[in-house]
Symmetry: C2
DNA sequence: GAGTGACTTTGACTTAAGTCAATCTGAAAA
DNA sequence: TTTTCAGATTGACTTAAGTCAAAGTCACTC
């Protein structure tokens, strides 16, 4: 694997090559195929992950089997790092569990597992890394704030919000094209609904010439209508 | 005001009296009456708060006016601390906003405002405080994870989850009595619904002899039924 | 190029929850 | 004690979204 990926990980951006090398040598590379579970929320916590290639979803499963996606994670981003700071003693004794479930979304998804004890070692010698962590967690917190808000406003709004955010991320300001990074099933469960309802909602937008959908490619025809949908 | 409250603030538990004194002398005490806004999410960020007395809700307002409560904050707890770590430069120039709205829930709610620059000063000299912060943010993150899950499962489940959590918090294992800390309106908006629906749901539980409600006092008559409701 | 299987769409139906408007309750004020 | 008013409840109704079952689409394999 290419070690240079570690340099692109925000969390490690202040570390020098020696330190990165140390992390690399103490960590484990793991590979997953599409649909494979990375961890369950019932499982003892033993460290956090960095996505190298592919993508991952973090989700809860309700007792009736429905799943609720909380985050999608893409390369250079970390996940499951928050438990490290909740109960130091319990983490060490592996008496703490993961906060949710996670699954690989693509074949050949490559992850680095940083074990708790390895991370605590890094932290000892690089106190500044805690600021990076704070920055990362703060962003996730803000994201969840917004997410909670958006799912409690119904499917159309939730979808409109998602589409607009994706459009902004893509940066293709002129083209008004989104390439979905995730399956429609995962999108549905992310915006807090089920496949059928998402399908109908996409159809409704298409009938009104607001968007056009072809597989995972979505053309935004009338951005203004989406914005209006969000605002009521 | 009694400075000793600062000692009870988890975030400051490692600081000595001198440092606490310094924080105290550099911070502002603010008082609010019930229903008064502490900050809006449109407002430039200038620091975070500690609740001394009373209580506070953190919430989003959707464009149609409905509100969605994300957190309730009680004495010795902090709120609005996450933005400090998101964009240092923007925070300094006050070009960053609060992540949500907040309102006092009781008359004579007393808060301490710690301005961003004051906090950065503390952080400089007490790197360990960042670990306390991480711990606090991690807990909020876990809370939000669970909250997202619970609101997307319908009102009955959401209510059952809330009641069981409150029962656990109260510690009165024998008594099976909950004293609601918040209004029914705020409870409704916390579990993602409206006053009428909450009212009907409470009624339904009462008709089935699962709970009995008298003002803000709720007797849990059949904990097992609530647990069953959560599990489907 | 037919066949398999996962993903997606559609239709008919049921159910949960929101809306609007009216009424009730109980604590504080006069 | 009566008045007042915010908070809470109820009823009748509408609407959004979930359920179930069937059929369609598309990319692979054989």
């Amino acid at each position: 694997m290419d070690k240079s990926i570690l340099k692109k990980v925000n969390l490690f951006s202040d570390l020098n090559d020696d330190e990165l090398e140390k992390i690399y040598s103490h960590s484990t590379i793991k590979k997953f195929n599409k649909g494979e579970m990375i961890f369950f929320e019932t499982e003892p916590y033993n460290g956090f992950y960095i996505v190298i290639e592919g993508s991952v979803k973090i989700f809860k499963i309700s007792k009736d089997g429905r799943e609720h996606v909380i985050h999608f994670i893409f390369p250079t981003n970390t996940f499951a790092e928050a438990p490290l700071f909740e109960q130091y003693d319990k983490i060490i004794r592996e008496e703490f569990t993961y906060p949710a479930n996670s699954m690989a979304l693509e074949d050949d998804t490559k992850l680095i597992l940083i074990r708790s004890d390895v991370f605590y070692g890094i932290l000892e010698k690089n106190k500044n890394i805690s600021l990076k962590m704070l920055s990362g967690l703060s962003k996730k917190l803000r994201h969840l704030n917004n997410h909670i808000d958006s799912i409690s406003q119904g499917v159309s709004k939730g979808l409109a919000i998602y589409l607009l955010k994706e459009l902004e991320k893509s940066g293709n300001k002129d083209k008004n094209i989104i390439e979905l990074q995730i399956s429609k099933h995962d999108l549905a469960s992310y915006i807090g609904t089920i496949d059928e309802t998402l399908s109908r909602c996409l159809k409704k937008f298409q009938e009104n010439k607001v968007i056009s959908v072809k597989g995972k490619t979505i053309h935004i025809l009338q951005k203004s209508v989406l914005e209006k949908t969000v605002k009521l």
